[in-house]
Point group: D2
Chain length 349, copies 4
């Protein structure tokens, strides 16, 4: 009953085994090995983007920060939602990497910006000549930090506004796979075909050990990205072990299988929760993270019985038993029906 | 015959296996797992430093840059040799992490600064009031970038000068193990007992996949280091896999065994090379990196036969066959006597 | 009829003359002249703060950014209102000086944060351990960017919350004098006695040529501030000419006279405007900046007749003549009753 | 007998008067006044560079740092001499403005780099792929920090190497006028005609109160420079008072008259010093700064009698009376023959 995060689960065995295969013999460092080069091509193929600049880094924060730094000047501001990971959970890493650029928060509905709210934020910045921050890229996350998903239409609508203002669009895809399989879309459809300029393509939350790909569709940014990655201490000497993870992740569509498994497990949870009248979903469940409001007493029973998840908005240990608190449940690829059944059976009391 | 770098060799099997063990079940992320905590303690025990702030990062550049940033103000300058890795091979990562602090180069003999050359550099900086850079920490590397080693006496002498000026001493120990076993010293003797304030304790070049420990003996810097690590995107969500590597590395003294193996292999190389009158060592061989001067024609023969190593100071493919060029040979833990024999047999022509 | 800004007016003659007096003979540079030292003392006396670290800089953005940088770590966030000058009008200078720290926007009423809105913002940040930005200083502006003034009680209430969270309070006093004379307070009452830790004490908008004082009440920050100022290229070699301005500004209470004159002129404007039913004040006029809503046609008439001021929220040249737009009027110390009469006479049509 | 620095002397009366003229009435802020615009054109005319991006800033460090930041990426390194002002006397301002780029020191003869020493430094950097710092601009100073001057041929030779490597050339011209009149060159000849890409054109040391012009010959860098200047808090609201200084400085060739006066006064000093056998010039006197080696006892006599200058390399107050120490003498535009006679008469004892 471990629903704390999809980064708490195990690495998929095929990915672990790939590390062993990569370990045979010697290989030049820093990505100059055949494995690393072939994986970059595999990612380009996956995205149907033969020219894309593709680089591996070990964390999602690195992918986000390096991409944003490559696309943003220090006197610009990045447009994102208030709950964006880059705003809340990266300890100013984007600002650090961007050399002091800032973030402008765009009003969100279900954790998604809208064309209207984006336009309003854009109109409110970058209109004071040299005095104010200049407009920089727009950054969206899908699956969002609240478990919702931008439809392809929604991405295209955001992109249309972004292009209208001459800006670039970044997609934080820490859970790219989960959103993509939920939409039934291809990687290209959910990225460059929808007007996205760069993707942080997540692996770690979906069964890898620690690898994300930075996919930038404008190849002229490649060399700058390489220098920024090295300067940020994110160029691995034994780079083949990042490549090995990503290789197994993409091989035979493993990555989509894992995302489907995580989403399906979440679907079972949702099915079990939604019939109850003491539980309400704070946001429409669409992928593998859900937020449910329930009385404190219910949270206490679940957590007391060994379920592991975060309660977001208050002290679960003390207070009115009827007080409503929001729990966050995340299923990773390895979540079993048994664990979910066990969890749901606790609801019955 | 792969002598290009000790980061080109394989991961030791025990370290790979440790990843598998760490993969059992769920664990809280970001170092909040039992494995990560116990490994930190293991490092403290190794260094006989029960209070030390100990953190894992994936690359040596990250360890160096984060430690230096934690000990340096942006208006200060770090004292290091011209060939220091932080000066030559980190693409301005230290300057980036330190927020624009600079490096002052200290004259080196056999890639080591001396108390005299350090004192001269210190006296030449930090004496112009608010106008010049202020004096910051001193950083030394051992095994040095030219394969030499600071004796314990030499470290203590550098440290004495450092302390006299009220500064801190950092040790870039990407090859800490190789130096330590060569000296027959303990980790404590080669660090805090000799006046070192912080160590980048290498694992990657000595059989790990990608892990280094930042060991800072002043525990009051711990929280700042944690924030800097997160802000630099170097806090891994699946942190247990960094811990697993370091755990196996330290377990039963594996790390010293691996370093001894690498040094011993290098010793065989040295023995085979030193009898020849067309070869000269550019620096005294002391650990697992050696630099040998030889005629271009000899390099061509070696490389042509499949030996892999860097020639540092010129174009090996074209020019006077008798021209002298310097080759760098590095042995990692996995280097076999057979490969060395094969290499040496090429010398005979 | 020049109401565009109080930085568009002339330098007061006494301040210009002071430059001439400072020009006699030679003086050591970089603030090491007797003039600069005595002026620092004069500022300390003015603030009844014998220990304060006091430094002159040429612009308000420099004063704000240097103070904030001295009080903020790069992984922290500064709390300010959305319309704060540091957020809107400094092109990311605070972020640059702070090394990538960020700003968290606090809901404002009449351009002032309240204890409640501040508390809400504080509770929403700094509660995610190492993941989120850490809480840094609070920054308020008075006279605010919308012409309102924090009462002493309001400053004390903000300060109480700030202290409760263990944070520091900065006051952007670009128009410190205008607020102070409006309140009938002393400099000490409007700063450290109300819990303010540092003040950007403006001179430029109130009759100086280009000088602001950074007043930091914690003297232990002095040396860091000096280094930051130099590193930011804001230490003047001919520093005595900054000092000369500030000396004349403070001499005999000139600075309060100038602020009273500016406020009084604004009072005449307000009196003339407020009787009209086609004009509404967007914010209560309290000092020397006012915002008035009026039909586009009226703005067109005023501007067409030669009045100079900014219309904030739309295109004044085209659109519905009855459309309501907001004009901003600022009076500096030199504004004459004649100019105001001329402006008001235009209203009559 | 005030020879401490040319930034210790008075502002020329014509420049002070110009401030008064600029003070008439109201003017739009931030350089949007007619005065500021016409002065920019005057500088372009002076340099025969109709397209140049020309901006005023208050300090030489600001001019240097902003120009270098505009021409340098954070992962690059700037090539300069060890005694360059940007290296020794700006407290890491260039590194701060450049976002952590570094400086590579080029061997100097008489404080000047040579084509050979520059080429050697260039060949030693930027040849390690992504690992090392990349090559950035070259920066020279003339009048150098040791009082010597690059001939036009020397500048052209440096520029030729710079261009060969595809780099840009910056000239720190804090004493541009003194070098130019000594060479009998035009501004264009000493800058773009010799291959210089950008000049920090000094005013402050040559009779202004505090103004320097950044002159960048590539107009496409204009907007970035404006944003960087604002972000660095160096855009003055009452910008007309920077413009007024520069206007009077250029008017009727005042700036060249002032430089000629300073150089001529220095010539008198040199003539008086060079006959003595207890005095030796450390560098050939060429402009308005000279370095003379003399016995400690002689320095003591000069300083004791009221001469003001810096002794660079030791404690003048204690030690062997016969010990040789180096004094630095600088003449500004206002230095009188009487003061020089008085100084020289002290030599006689």
């Amino acid at each position: 009953m471990f629903f704390a995060s999809d980064n708490s689960g195990p690495v998929h065995p095929a990915i672990l085994e790939s590390l062993g295969r990569a370990n045979a013999g010697y290989a030049m460092g820093y990505g100059n090995d055949p494995f690393s080069k072939s994986v970059a091509q595999k990612i380009r193929d996956t995205f149907e983007a033969p020219e894309a600049a593709v680089y591996l880094v070990p964390t999602g924060t690195a992918a986000n920060s390096l991409i944003l730094a490559t696309m943003t000047k220090p006197w610009e501001t990045v447009f994102c939602t208030p709950m964006a990971h880059i705003n809340c959970d990266e300890c100013n890493a984007p600002e650090f990497y961007m050399g002091g650029a800032k973030l402008t928060l765009v009003e969100a509905r279900a954790a998604k910006m809208t064309p209207e709210s984006l336009r309003k934020a854009l109109d409110n910045e970058g209109n004071r000549g040299v005095h104010g921050p200049q407009r920089g890229p727009v950054s969206i996350t899908t699956v969002t930090e609240r478990g919702t998903i931008y439809s392809l239409e929604e991405i295209r609508a955001i992109s249309a506004v972004t292009k209208e203002y001459g800006l670039k669009l970044h997609l934080d895809g820490a859970r790219f796979a989960n959103a993509m399989v939920a939409l039934g879309a291809t990687p290209a459809e959910m990225s460059w075909k929808a007007g996205v300029d760069a993707v942080s393509f997540g692996g770690t939350k979906n069964g890898c050990m620690g690898v994300e790909a930075s996919v930038i569709f404008d190849p002229t940014l490649a060399w700058e990205f390489e220098l920024r990655r090295k300067r940020a201490a994110h160029l691995f000497s034994k780079h083949r072990f990042l490549a090995a993870q990503m290789d197994a992740y993409l091989e035979g569509g493993l990555w989509t299988d894992l995302a489907r498994a995580a989403n399906a497990a979440t679907g079972l949870l949702v099915a079990g929760l939604q019939g109850r009248n003491d539980i309400r979903f704070a946001f429409e469940p669409q992928a593998n993270i859900i937020f449910f409001e329930a009385p404190r007493a219910l949270h206490q029973r679940l957590l007391g019985a060994g379920a592991v998840y975060y309660v977001e908005d208050g002290d679960v240990t003390a207070g009115d038993p009827a007080g409503i608190l929001t729990g966050r449940l995340v299923c990773d690829w390895s979540m079993t029906p048994e664990a979910i059944d066990q969890f749901l059976s606790l609801l019955a009391g």
